[in-house]
Symmetry: C2
Subunit: 342 residues, 2 copies
């Protein structure tokens, strides 16, 4: 098995190295073919490693970074002034071939801006998008993008997201002509804002995307569409609201169960199955959204991820490296966009 | 008890009178103080009434309408050309005092445009917003607006929604200084689009709204905020996605239960309790969003509501008439906006 190396922005996220370092140690113990470069404040990282009675090794290296991107740093500031930050240096490692992928729980806007400059977008793609596979009633994964990398998007950007999402679904699930939809507030043609309506017109005239029309929010999880496209503000709030309602439901079910003896018995008998279900629906279990459209792999973790959730983001990066997602997308994208420009 | 009269846009929604007429009959049998005016195509309505062996009566009148607003009619077309539509005539009945409130399952954009012209907005309010109370983990209702009446909103509109929402929560729940938040894709000041950031600045400088800052999608259902403000595109997709994930969860739980014999037995024993829980979380059970900011009461039902769900929208209108929501809001709003303009 060939080794793969991940560059981790150790300082990103609400709890920085206190979460990312333990998650890295877990990942190294699970994946024998994995090397990790922890990018961040060396003394802090060493102190945490010492607590775990671990020291640097060929599989676990430290790259010291003087600076940290804060959650409230503007992308343009991060790009110009924080060239020695852990986020930037982790991306640099990927750009110069020393790492196969980067994982960060830091500032999404800064990560997006830096990744675009350092790693470059695929030809024909102006802006990367955050994407994640979501569960659905049909049992098939649904790819939702953008999840927050682009606060607002013009119709051309939405069109490119549709093409990228389609190619991703095709390459990862093996499905031919995956069904692509635009998220809107109604199914009729006149519904929605100008950007969505214009993107619909662009998609109707392309042969390379199996465009099925608009879907509304309640159809995201039905599995009718394989790929659903929206701007980052809508995608982010929609996804997070879904996580919120899942928590509310589990809270209400737990309360109902607590109040009833038979229900408690049922819950006990179903424990294993319910636990699996909870895990499946737990947002942390799905942690790790890909920044799609770049020439290399960048995985974004929740800012408030714990070590288990950050481990999931690391695993997502490992999977994508094995699948060689960007090069597959690039190959397919070239022919799609070429046809479009003809 | 004083009688109250509702004007129903009988032709609105996916199934028109086949849903709205049976729902009206149910409402009349439940609420002894209720009168209903069915506005729509008289022959069609009479045929459905005949099937239920019911005829016109002082409590159940028909107002014939020549036209119907279609789901894909543009608001401006509906406003100018469909003055004899069931939607318009139902609103006219409220405007001229023959009905206390209007309920429609029709085209949201058209309803919003017509209601604004026919019923007028409260002074200081430019655009009405669709609002609904949502359940939360804290047990307190959370008012989310706008749910789709305004596809995009400038900062001033978002500010007005915050004021209206605050007054609504105060008047309906009796809470003093309800906590008001803006929905955003991050909690830091730099996050989000220009409209949201400017609305935040407006809210920070007013004393009349207990503004708590940004909340993200996953905090909607936590109950941290009493009122959450966003534009109609975001609110609509967010709410519908939450309904979608609720359906997915119930589907998965049902499947888990089906696969287990003991669980099936216990589920049968728990049927009543589970049914209650399902009902509580069923989006249809919450059907009926208010068009807030008008001088009169207009309730919007889901377009795809069945009779039970449309009955819920009728009940929402009855509750609002009893609570005299618009006049309470107007009284409070005047002092709030007056202070703001000083």
């Amino acid at each position: 098995m060939t080794h793969l190396t991940l560059a981790l922005d150790t300082m990103g996220g609400d709890n920085g190295p206190h979460v990312t370092v333990p998650a890295s140690l877990q990942a190294l113990s699970i994946y024998a073919d994995l090397n990790i470069i922890l990018v961040g404040d060396r003394p802090t990282i060493l102190a945490i490693l010492a607590k775990h009675q671990v020291s640097e090794s060929p599989r676990l290296q430290i790259l010291h970074a003087e600076q940290v991107v804060q959650m409230d740093d503007k992308p343009i500031h991060a790009l110009r002034r924080l060239k020695q930050s852990s986020m930037r240096l982790a991306l640099d490692l990927v750009a110069n071939g020393q790492a196969d992928a980067c994982v960060s729980a830091g500032n999404t806007g800064a990560l997006m801006a830096m990744a675009k400059v350092v790693l470059k977008t695929l030809s024909g793609i102006d802006r990367p998008a955050l994407v994640r596979a979501l569960p659905s009633i049909s049992g098939q994964p649904v790819y939702l993008l953008d999840l927050g990398a682009n606060t607002s998007c013009d119709s051309q950007t939405l069109f490119q997201f549709a093409v990228m999402g389609s190619v991703l679904a095709e390459q990862v699930t093996g499905k031919t002509a995956p069904k692509v939809a635009l998220l809107n507030i109604g199914s009729e043609e006149i519904k929605g804002n100008d950007q969505v309506q214009q993107a619909a017109r662009l998609l109707q005239t392309t042969h390379d995307v199996n465009y099925m029309g608009y879907v509304e929010g309640d159809q995201i999880f039905s599995g009718q569409a394989d790929v659903i496209v929206c701007d980052g503000f809508v995608g982010n709030t929609t996804l997070k609201a879904s996580e919120g309602i899942a928590r509310l439901l589990f809270h209400q079910i737990s309360e109902a169960v607590q109040r009833n003896l038979i229900a408690r018995l049922l819950a006990w008998l179903l424990k294993k199955r319910l636990k699996k279900l909870f895990l499946q629906m737990n947002p942390d279990h799905y942690n790790g959204a890909s920044l799609l459209g770049l020439r290399h792999i960048v995985v974004k973790s929740h800012g408030n991820a714990d070590a288990a959730a950050f481990l999931r983001a690391i695993e997502e990066a490992i999977t994508e490296v094995h699948r060689r997602v960007p090069s597959k997308i690039e190959a397919r994208l070239e022919s799609v966009l070429l046809e479009k420009s003809c």
